[in-house]
Subunit: 436 residues, 2 copies
Amino acid sequence: MKPLQIALLGAGTVASGVVKVLARNQEELQRRAGRGIALAAIAARNPDKARAALGDALPITTDFMALATRPDIDIVVELMGGISPARELVLAAIAAGKHVVTANKALLAIHGNEIFAAAQAKGVIVAFEAAVAGGIPIIKAVREGLAGNRIEWIAGIINGTTNFILSEMRDKGLDFATVLKQAQALGYAEADPTFDIEGVDAAHKATILCAIAFGVPVQFDKAYVEGITALQAADIRYAEQLGYRIKLLGITKNTGEGIELRVHPTLIPATRLIANVEGAMNAVVVQGDAVGPTLYYGKGAGSEPTASAVIADLVDVTRLHTADPEHRVPHLAFQPDAMSDLPILPMDQVVTAYYLRLRVADQTGVLADLTRILADEGISIDGLIQREAGEGEHQTDLIILTHDTVEAHMNAAIGRMQTLPSVHAPIVRIRKEELR
Amino acid sequence: MKPLQIALLGAGTVASGVVKVLARNQEELQRRAGRGIALAAIAARNPDKARAALGDALPITTDFMALATRPDIDIVVELMGGISPARELVLAAIAAGKHVVTANKALLAIHGNEIFAAAQAKGVIVAFEAAVAGGIPIIKAVREGLAGNRIEWIAGIINGTTNFILSEMRDKGLDFATVLKQAQALGYAEADPTFDIEGVDAAHKATILCAIAFGVPVQFDKAYVEGITALQAADIRYAEQLGYRIKLLGITKNTGEGIELRVHPTLIPATRLIANVEGAMNAVVVQGDAVGPTLYYGKGAGSEPTASAVIADLVDVTRLHTADPEHRVPHLAFQPDAMSDLPILPMDQVVTAYYLRLRVADQTGVLADLTRILADEGISIDGLIQREAGEGEHQTDLIILTHDTVEAHMNAAIGRMQTLPSVHAPIVRIRKEELR
């Protein structure tokens, strides 16, 4: 049988991984897929640069649209990133009857509903294992491997850059800005790291996980997104003393009333396996009603790890593209006519526990005032440490851990506590999850 | 569309989980699969007991063969365990054109080649996610999620009973026999725990992982199997002091010359994520050439965790059974006409590192004799600790860690060392893997 013809859109890091791994594992891939997978051509903005990176065995074009719709192409692999022109190219490829494989989480988190609807209408597959957690087959695990479960929640370290920074901050006791510079020097953070450190990249991925876990449309605009730029070394240290690690988690949870979708720094018990995921590695915990907790760990980025996911999708499409479209795995795990209309909950309705750090006057009555406010708001305290004030100091750090409470109540309590004259600096609030 | 009709063979723990979860998640399963999945009937040896466990909403029969081949049944779920009559029933179901879902690792490890060939010839699917690591979707991960990789090795904690025992031995400093009794009292070990503690169960699962990782037939008879019954508390303690944990691992590795397939207690660095998998949990590390290391963690046994895997298979079969058989995922990950004839290597050709504990006379020259023998056999030493002999003691423990070496050389070295008059007890040898 003629090999399936693949077009690559983009010639960056991941594309070079795809080219390399496809060539290296060609024989084994054929044995798996039962049919050859052949790279037909690559579209690149800068053909000379592309040729230098990928060699000149393959035709390289600058006409992305012509390649995406070329009649002899079976599968278009979109590895450009960004929204435009990726969106137009993917939609054009679908309209031309091509199957699409993409690693583009931003595109799917924002325009996924449009893209999946177009693919559904045309009877083609859009596969996106590489869009979340790189080489970890987490899309497949949630969509197929755990299909017997009602998923209760997912919590994941799904951005390697921020996990690298947090690991270094903890290991070496350094502050955020210092570690960020090191991470940039080492290539773990980009020159413009905004999307990573502000949590946007993680929120794109959490949005996709949310959709396939709960059968809702992708709704990136409803995600709560908080990055790690405000994290201080002191809080990492206090968390450690209390038996917790701070990780940037993407969390999505079905509460029955609605769905939580949020990215923020999170205290998690140091004994949890995911708390021990260090450096640029990713890991995702999925809690199903039947299976309980499961965890998936691996490299979340990089040339060959991401290529691993892209090629798994190519093999999947090769194996399954002849199935009638009614009997394939649905793009978002649930049949398109059976999506849920459960709303994404606004952040002030989210229920979680909290770590609070207050800089307070070292005088009697302060604790009484604070605990009174918490009690008024119906917030119960799980633990509390007050550092003894140093010699000659008149202020001290007070750390409060709370039980689960509604975020709106916590906002109200923090607002009130902040106005107390004995509270001397902005109150630090970090959410805390037991993950069980 | 008429729901797919399911027959359950067996009415034990897993069957009751399947019945419960199918009922509880019915609506969600329909939304995922696009078609109903209906339990038609159950075959049980003792219908009264089955009725007590599963309720009487479903017809219960004692005629397994009639149910396995009944014309209205689409999928036969075999949950009986054991070889016979499970094998005959599965083959009869296949011959009758039924798809089969099974959790039976012993059956597949021993008769998988026959069963998959029959299924292939008949164009039906045999799905077996539940056969390895319970609720963890490891079969799907290796067979599909990592299809872009050449798998280099897999190492897994794939028997919960023995991991529970080893965790307790380490935590509490107790010996094997004591912990085994506790595990039996707690239900973590069966009344006859032989298959678990002797490593047989883990070897069944490793055999299946080996086949889908490397595209070779299942070859349980070639597996090296060593359990945990001889493990002593002292070795767990020494390993700890050296920065290692001892886990019962199922290991399979492609060396290029052949394939290693072995189950034995193994020292692994305490800093590895898998070293921190405690209690009855399972975890599997898969090393792919493109993705690097990935890890999959979850409950490896139990009613609903195993049911989770069985139902995922039911959803898979529901989604994919209409695809033409040439374009489904092959049972053993590779196309049946493209299997590899790489041999399973005999244990004495396996390459690994070693932990040795010797009870030696506390006198000069002993170490020289021992290290001379190791050097003669081409074995290089990675580390060595000699406990100081206590007051009045004339013997002491000597611990040697070696670099990688061929098992045959180690056998020769141990044989020679054992004959030295200064070596006072049987030499303890535990294999050691860095897992990187």
